[in-house]
Subunit: 220 residues, 2 copies
């Protein structure tokens, strides 16, 4: 299936032209990002918690300590809204009213399940580490049985998802284009600075390729 | 009041050492960021929507079209959880288990109210534009009465808030420090590229100072 079937909750109500229900652009956004905001409800109270994630195929994984309140709540099968947002620029219009932000965001709806199968859990942990830096998993000490048990991994199937994208220059009212005001976009992106060695790093260990020239997503 | 009084929902349950209830660090995070994730509940279903915001004093403002489903829901006075997250780095440990992300996040709880007072609404719109780029408001065409009426501005009092901060190098198990694995932090930050002129920009209008060398927050 190459596209998501829009549902009531995943369909953009306003500005439907910014909506995207194809799998490929949704997955590109999910793969470029690495922090999501997980929304869930406890006794009527919404919580929005930032956490890392990784995609493997048509599944999103999040993880944490078995004691995590968020994960313990989610594993009960409550409704989740998981949102990933990448900010691409400040949109400066000639009028205050038409200022905006260029961004790409994905919302995923569904109910998470705890990953109990050992092989899937291992693959999820691998994906979560690799999503931070491809090549990392093979270089580090992999989890012990105790660490795997201490970790709660939740899976959210990518069945109900949509992206919302704003791109391009400002859109001003026609009569404002003649105003003597600069308008355009200030592009924004996340960059990595030089890796900082752990103060306790054993002398002689060099920075591996996967942390040098670290980048995410497509260069623009 | 220089600090927030922790409540049940704003108190960090795990890793309490990462919690921060002083106003100043919370406001620094809110002022460096400019996109928040707003969580609310509609008929039991959580939604998490990214949107711009600005702080003025002890109030956070968000805004949008009167037709916005999110804003129309929030103005009814439902419970909100508003989260701002700044990502500072990838934390690379010697073990997969201890990988982490350096970040600063703020969660605000409460109920939003619609700003109906004309002067406060004007100040909120000014703050929202200035928060994108200080100096912008004075240079652009300011809102007409019609635009002000078409805009819904909501205020969320900064009464119940907390920050969560992870910083510094990885923390490995003691016996792992002798492993021949590189460990450290890959610092991440958001940068602005050169401003891109609107294709319809009137020739001769130069890029103003507030978009040249655009930065957010404290330089590191």
């Amino acid at each position: 299936m190459d596209s998501f079937t829009p549902t009531k909750r995943s369909t953009l109500k306003r500005l439907p032209g910014r909506g995207e229900y194809e799998r490929e652009p949704v997955y590109q956004i999910l793969d470029e990002g690495f922090v999501c905001h997980v929304g869930f409800v406890v006794e009527g109270q919404p919580f929005v918690i930032p956490t890392g994630y990784a995609r493997a195929g048509d599944t999103l994984y999040i993880h944490g300590a078995q004691a995590s309140r968020m994960l313990r709540t989610l594993r009960e099968g409550v409704e989740v809204c998981l949102t990933v947002t990448l900010v691409d620029g400040m949109v400066m219009a000639r009028s205050a009213f038409h200022h905006s932000i260029n961004y790409r965001s994905v919302m995923v709806f569904g109910r998470a399940v705890s990953v109990e199968d050992g092989a899937e859990k291992w693959e999820a942990l691998r994906a979560l580490t690799e999503h931070l830096a491809p090549g990392r998993w093979a270089e580090v000490r992999q989890p012990t049985d105790g660490e795997v048990r201490a970790t709660l991994v939740l899976a959210l199937s990518l069945v109900e998802a949509s992206a919302k994208i704003r791109t391009g220059p400002p859109v001003d009212d026609e009569e404002d284009y003649e105003l003597p005001v600069w308008a355009g976009v200030v592009p924004l992106r996340m960059v990595a600075d030089e890796p900082v060695d752990d103060p306790r790093l054993t002398p002689g260990i060099e920075q591996p390729p996967h942390v040098l020239n670290y980048t995410r997503g497509v260069r623009r």
